[in-house]
Symmetry: C2
Subunit: 354 residues, 2 copies
Amino acid sequence: MKKHNFSAGPCILPQEVLLKASEAVLDFNESGLSLIEISHRSKPFVDVMEKARALALELLNLEGRGYKVLFLQGGASTQFLMVALNLLEKRAGYLNTGTWSDKAINEAKIYDDIYEVASSKNANYNYIPKGYEIPTDYDYFHCTSNNTIFGTQMKSFPKCSIPMVCDMSSDIFSRQLDFSKFDLIYAGAQKNMGPAGTTLVVIKEEILGKVSRHIPSMMDYKVHINKSSMFNTPPVFAVYTSMLTLDWLKNLGGIAAIEKENEKKARLMYSEIDLNPLFKGFSAKEDRSYMNATFSLVNEDLKETFDTMWKEAGINGLNGHRSIGGYRASMYNALSLDSVKALVEVMSELESKA
Amino acid sequence: MKKHNFSAGPCILPQEVLLKASEAVLDFNESGLSLIEISHRSKPFVDVMEKARALALELLNLEGRGYKVLFLQGGASTQFLMVALNLLEKRAGYLNTGTWSDKAINEAKIYDDIYEVASSKNANYNYIPKGYEIPTDYDYFHCTSNNTIFGTQMKSFPKCSIPMVCDMSSDIFSRQLDFSKFDLIYAGAQKNMGPAGTTLVVIKEEILGKVSRHIPSMMDYKVHINKSSMFNTPPVFAVYTSMLTLDWLKNLGGIAAIEKENEKKARLMYSEIDLNPLFKGFSAKEDRSYMNATFSLVNEDLKETFDTMWKEAGINGLNGHRSIGGYRASMYNALSLDSVKALVEVMSELESKA
């Protein structure tokens, strides 16, 4: 039986994507060869890469607006560094909303001066700061749209007259936004896009070429853009599976359609957290993430009983991150409403038992 | 029908590895979850990573000798940069034996002074330079063991009193060497180890920590070593499939066993190139690669006929690299002797026709 997979990432992917990816590992498009044993310069794979890049632009509604799409390696952690190497000349502003923002700041600090425009660190990141000013003479502003660990999500983005860079690793393709407000978006694939091993970068080309440092080839967005994301051998399987997931999303009706599903799942989940007296939510209500719901038991004595119950119900990956403990229900695009229903049922069963 | 896959990389992998990898994408170890949708911090995946690291050390006979194994992202191209960032303080010596050596030199040059101890560039890299001196006061010496594009291979390695770094991307695990002579070995997975998307790094820990620069986290070998190659989400599928391939090799009898097979294949291939008057080899005989045989037709008029013939025989990936043209038969570990026999048969058929 397929499990209800609430894992925070790597996480659930659509079953039809897993089927196609599994098939391609044995025989890619009836070519008599596996996807992973053909040249990345061969037409069949170049077609995959081009389709993946085109689908990302199409789904984000960024076609014909000066953006380029890359599928790189090294995770969002490498982007923390690449953003600074490619864009930071004098000073940049960062919004600190959690562990990943903090890491992004630390990687960028190596090179130049970083200014935290605001931070919720003192409240263990349980809310999203608001009402801060972004200096207009900085090189760029950086924020994290969704904070996987703490379960908070930026519901709106600040007015920003300088380039806006956003780490959307954990909520890209999950909700409608005016993506053209952003100049650089990056996202590790392993939440809503595909398997671990590739990172999506969507970049407005005009913001590049403004720093004076020499950028090493593998760290240089321009080098990758000029080579159509094939400067060196790309992570073939991760790109292919991402393409399949983006195609699945398109066929489903795109971001508008999945957003409705994600809202239903999140409403059901948070409604149970709020109405069930045995549980309490972690993050500020107005900043609650639709991707990762963080909560805990009011009475820790019930932990063993609850843990046994959800495991018996075929639920997987519900433990919270060690930074905040408790539970975390990650409800990425591929998680069905039925899985949330199964979890909510276990929670209300616990209430009737207690 | 499975093709005879002579692709230069990504390239042929053992069929049983493809079967197991394909299965794991659907259901990993009968867990009810795909390999690519479980947490990389879960015990089943941590076990995969640890097994892959242990197998690499065991096959290279480097257990208990101060070496650490990493599975990183970014390809050998990222290693060109990481080697310099982690080891280069004043000056390093590089042996230039082909396109990849040249790229390694260019990436390292960004930071400090590089000295080419020798180069075969003037002869379009058709041989391996010999008899050069390696300065004893340099930070390290770098070489490329096998040159995929030109079809040359280092049959012996120089005496070296400074740390020796070797890019073994295209011949690692293919022949017996005293690997303890090397202080840092790196190899993109996509030839003899697995799919594109991860890079093996085997490093003698004691050579680290000797440069004064600050190294960004993702570029710092020590950071990755301290986190057991899990500083950030690793490329799960590529690591798993590499583990399967290393396990396949171990069960076959390890490097000693595969070396014998590789010798048989190379002898058959080069014997046909030398004896068939229609063909000529590209590289110096004493430096011929056992992995990539480069050759061309003496009379280019036969090209169309020959190309049709090998394609009809179910052969794939025989075209030479654009730098030297002609043909390239890549005979990595997973290619069977039967595939080489099939190619040789076509070559001799052409001779009897002509």
